[in-house]
């Protein structure tokens, strides 16, 4: 026994200095210092407005990510005014002096109605090119080009593309009726795509992003419609008696989960691509609504009042009994399953206000994302799972907002008059 005690004591003495070390388990600043220069003309023909617009769009996108801290352009030195598309042409020492770790440079040319943009992302510390793209389009495409390069920047740094080349669908009553609109992720270029002169609700995009389904009261009944975004062709997919609402495309095929009340009670059904019923998923006297697919398409989360109050339940698309997901709160609605499958966002009514929450599909780690005045409802995920879009009336009127998946960086994106709600985020275009 004494033989053991002595080595143990010796070990303790040796280990003690290690305990006394100070541990820092994460950096206090986790943003990457970024220098974003203005595009320089490739061939002498200057168009400062175009360069400025590119800069603004890219800047907004990168700001939303929360990954970067911008170096003040007023501090830029001589290299900011040089084209420098190759790493050997960039004065990295100058940028390092300013504290930059990433550098965006680029050039443009506008000839005969054709716009060419060369954009580069450099790693200042490693003095190397991380990403370089050449975009060709029309002068009006400068915003799209900037969004596309923002997606590429995220891919270079994080390994997955950003969501900025996608679109947001939403319902707005700015024309006097609730119609379906599309806009860019930063809220620019809103376009009305329905003219039902009725009530349009609950849009959702197909997996390829080319079609959108929604519910409309155009024929007096809440029917499900499908519209091809590019051709404008529209068809009525489900016009059964009662509700045809909350349609959601499956993540990998054309199946649609939705709520029908053709038999008097609202239940979740699966429709095939032509609108025919392929399966009835729920069979209960309570209300079952708001289905959302898991990314693998094997499960569905939906809202049911089968335990008294509206709560979120999970159900396999093969059948079986629903399992209750949310145990807290008294009013949990509008679930949205993240593209990575790791979270389900939903809105909960506490008191008289709705706020957005996250919960793991196994019911753990429930967390509240939004605070403050106003209702925050209808959360939907960006295609990369980094951001959430939702509607809120915190500024009086209902408007569309974006925020990061951790609840930070919320920003209002919809403008104009009227109320905007029921957002949906398209896949990448």
């Amino acid at each position: 026994m004494t033989r053991l005690i002595l080595p143990l004591l010796l070990l303790l003495v040796l280990v003690t200095p290690a305990w006394s070390a100070i541990e820092i388990s994460a950096p206090g600043q986790q943003q990457i210092p970024l220098a974003l220069t203005v595009l320089q003309p490739l061939d002498g023909g200057r168009n400062p407005a175009l360069a400025e617009e590119f800069n603004q769009v890219l800047s907004w996108d990168l700001e939303l990510t929360g990954l970067f801290s911008r170096i003040d352009p007023r501090a830029f030195l001589a290299d900011a005014g040089r084209l420098g598309l190759l790493s050997i042409d960039v004065d990295f020492a100058e940028w390092r002096l300013l504290g930059a770790e990433m550098l965006i440079k680029g050039g443009y040319s506008l000839r005969g109605g054709q716009l060419v943009v060369e954009a580069r992302l450099f790693d200042v510390r490693a003095r190397r090119l991380l990403n370089g793209r050449r975009y060709v389009g029309k002068p009006g495409d400068v915003r799209r080009i900037a969004h596309a390069f923002a997606d590429q920047i995220l891919k270079s740094l994080t390994g997955s593309l950003g969501p900025f080349s996608s679109r947001l669908a939403y319902i707005s009553d700015q024309s006097g009726r609730k119609e379906l609109y599309l806009m860019e992720v930063d809220g620019h270029k809103p376009v009305r795509i329905t003219n039902h002169r009725s009530i349009v609700l609950n849009p959702d995009f197909s997996a390829d992003g080319r079609r959108v389904i929604f519910t409309s009261y155009r024929a007096g009944n809440p029917d499900l419609y499908q519209r091809d975004i590019f051709s404008g062709r529209e068809s009525r997919l489900s016009a059964r008696r009662g509700l045809n609402v909350g349609g959601r495309f499956a993540p990998r095929d054309d199946r649609i989960a939705l709520t029908l009340s053709k038999d008097g009670n609202s239940e979740i059904y699966l429709l095939d691509g032509n609108g025919g019923i392929s399966k009835r998923l729920t069979r209960y006297w309570g209300i079952d609504i708001d289905p959302t697919w898991s990314p693998d398409g094997d499960r569905i989360a939906f809202v049911s009042n089968r335990r008294g109050n509206p709560h979120i339940f999970l159900l396999s698309t093969d059948g079986g009994d629903p399992q209750r997901l949310t145990l807290n709160g008294k009013y949990n609605v509008t679930p949205a399953w993240s593209p990575k499958g790791d979270w389900i966002a939903f809105s909960r009514k506490e008191g008289s206000l709705f706020d957005i929450y996250l919960i793991r599909p196994d019911g753990s780690e429930e967390r509240r994302l939004t605070f403050g005045p106003g209702n925050k409802e209808h959360p939907r995920w960006s295609p990369d799972g980094r951001f959430l879009v939702y509607s809120s009336d915190e500024s009086g009127r209902k408007a569309i907002y974006l925020m990061r998946a951790d609840g930070s960086g919320s920003v209002k994106v919809s403008g104009g008059s009227g109320n905007c709600n029921h957002p949906a985020w398209s896949p990448r275009w």
């Binding site: 200095p17 100070i22 388990s25 990457i32 210092p33 990954l67």
Partner: protein, 269 residues
């Protein structure tokens, strides 16, 4: 006219004479009302001196602060430290009345040793004087003993805020500038100065150990990377952080030699 007629009628009904108890009742009533007026007017009671409760300013963000007692009325520079042991010695008592009686004995001891020393050479002094002198001497020794104990307590610096286990100089708001824990301060300073995105490194399992040395005036004298992470960007970021924390304030007054372990544990999901 009608009033005096009513009174007369009342007297007649009452038997033609006043009830003698009525005057006594009125007298009592007047006396009680007067007493109430005097009481609530504050003439009978001694003036209450409301001592303002101390205001504690506590840093709710869990950061060590440079001068945690800055907002504390009794948190004072070091020369006031002498006053605190009194409060500690008699924790039950309210602050106002008790320090005064203590002040007097402070003055007396200077003269008393003389008084004690004088009688001793004179053998003819009566016993009562001798006893009182011995008693005074005993008290003086007790007082000195108490002072020594309090000084020892002061030196230990283990005071804590009521109901708090926070060490001196931390977020519970107690302690003086000299009581700030340099280890906690250093930890926070390095964390704030360390800038690195998880997207800039290849792995989140990286770790590096650095030994830093600060002199008594708080200047960074030396640092040595004892164990490198193997990732140049990670190592660069921590050396940059160390260079940013090139001075400790207030000066520690002694050489500080610490091993800082940098890792990305909190970024791992």
């Amino acid at each position: 006219m009608s009033g005096s007629g009513h009174n007369n009628r009342w007297r007649r009904q009452a038997g033609g004479r006043r009830d003698p108890r009525l005057a006594a009742m009125l007298g009592y009533s007047f006396g009680l009302h007067l007493l109430l007026v005097l009481l609530f007017g504050g003439w009978l009671l001694p003036r209450m001196q409301h001592s303002k409760p101390p205001v504690y300013v506590v840093d709710l963000v869990n950061l060590p602060v440079k001068n945690p007692q800055a907002g504390r009325p009794d948190g004072a520079p070091k020369h006031k430290v002498k006053a605190r042991p009194k409060a500690k010695a008699k924790p039950v008592a309210r602050p106002k009345p008790k320090p005064k009686p203590k002040v007097k004995p402070k003055v007396k001891p200077k003269s008393r040793p003389k008084a004690v020393s004088k009688p001793r050479p004179k053998p003819k002094v009566d016993y009562r004087k001798t006893e009182s002198a011995i008693e005074k001497l005993r008290r003086k020794r007790e007082r000195e003993e108490l002072k020594r104990k309090l000084a020892a307590l002061e030196a230990q610096d283990t005071r804590r805020a009521p109901g708090s286990k926070a060490p001196l100089g931390e977020t519970a708001g107690t302690g003086s500038e000299a009581g700030v824990s340099y280890r906690t301060w250093l930890q926070q300073a390095y964390k704030s100065a360390w800038s690195l995105s998880k997207y800039q490194v290849r792995s989140l399992d990286l770790k590096a150990d650095v030994e830093v040395v600060y002199d008594a005036r708080g200047f960074l004298r030396d640092y040595t990377v004892m164990k490198s992470s193997g990732d140049r960007r990670f190592d660069d970021s921590i050396t940059q952080a160390i260079r940013r924390v090139d001075r400790l304030e207030p000066p520690p007054g002694r050489t500080i030699r610490e091993i800082i372990k940098f890792n990305l544990k909190d970024l791992q999901e």
